[in-house]
């Protein structure tokens, strides 16, 4: 009946953004890490599907944090392993 659920609008879902290649390389050099060391998110995650990200993209997540007010987190999109 209702329109398709927009996951992004739910209060529990923070803002997800796809990062550009420049932003990613800046991020990796700032923390001196590789993308593999980032937390992961599955490619079939509802929020990832919503913003249209694909495997190997890095996503910036802007959380409303209890402690800092606003916090940025990053996740690498990976394919969901088959069980």
């Amino acid at each position: 009946m209702s329109t398709k659920l927009n996951v992004i609008e739910h209060v529990m879902v923070p803002d997800h953004q796809i990062m550009s290649e420049d932003e990613v390389s800046e991020l990796l050099s700032r923390y001196n890490i590789t993308t593999e060391q980032l937390p992961k998110i599955y490619h079939d995650d509802p929020a990832v599907k919503m913003i249209g990200a694909e495997a190997d993209d890095v996503i910036r997540i802007i959380r409303t944090s209890h402690t800092a007010g606003r916090a940025e987190a990053y996740r690498l999109v990976i394919r969901k392993p088959k069980k």
Partner: protein, 391 residues
Amino acid sequence: MALDAKYDKKIEAAALPQKTKDQLRKYLDGKEITDAQFKQILERVLNEYQSTRIEACEAVGIIAAQSIGEPGTQMTMRTFHYAGVAEINVTLGLPRLIEIMDARKEPSTPTMTVFLEPDYGNDRDRAREVSWQIEAAPLHEFGDITTDMENMQVVVHLNTKVCDKRKIAPSEIMEVAPKKIRDRRHYRDFEHEIDEASATIIFMPKDKESYQNLFQLAEHVRNVIVQGIDDIIRVVVRKETGEYILYTEGSNLKDVFDVVGVDTTRTRTNNISEIAQVLGIEAARNAVIHEAVSTLNEQGIAVDVRHLMLVSDMMCMEGEVKQIGRHGIAGEKESVLSRAAFEVTVNHLLDAAVANEVDELSGVTENVIVGQPIQLGTGDVKLIAIRQNEN
């Protein structure tokens, strides 16, 4: 008076968290200060912030474990409380906390808090209507069911008044009922006849000889869910902070989101794995924090959110909610010794030996086991002397 633009800019540029910036702005708002004073204030705030940050190489995991574990000992072991909200029984206290940390697929008492869109939330009758769309209602609530033993059939007379009140057409019920008995209840040994005019359905078992089958059929007919969502056993409508909110016993986030009038931006469930499926891992992370904080607070235990955030972050690192325990975080550690030190020691050592695993001795537990300095605090720093030219 708004804050001076140049100060505002400087605060924005400072390396401070958003919350501290906002607090500082609020504090300075309307106060007469000179440039020198402002500079001093900002410097002090910066220093204070830096000194409260956690040091590198600090063992935050251990601190979190202690900080949750100690107050946890004071929690009620078993609670048969009604959660205060609308007579719906909810698991609380230690059992609930264990449930959250174990990342169970389904909590022992799933419940939902369904918020309504403004049009529905402000009107008691319309809120009630939404609740009927959600609450699972079996067929016997909509009419009289008689088991006719003489003709070997089950006759259902629908009560059109009840149907009207519940906003469902008798024809819809008559169509749904036989279908649901076949699909959801997996009982197929019957035939049915629909009489639209008198709102009657007649069910006949295929086997005309067996009374057992007839009664079995009657039981299915009585209890088949014809309106609402199958998993949601009960709905309670309550008025809170000026709007009507539905509390449910049983949870099905996906189907509830499809009901007209439900506010899909605020409605939530206490089933974390369901949230991970429908709303994604980030929402699940928030849900873990929210559930853990509210469980602890309900018991009057104050644990700093930072510890729970760390736990939640660890659980949601790999893209799905993982339990704290040997099937989750503790079981996937790199080090063999560390895993063996946790649970099922022999199995881990045996498997590691078979798989020819190597322990790099880079963590804390394994170094304690072999008796080396651990890589934490001062133990983490390595000094390398660079020989200067000696002439």
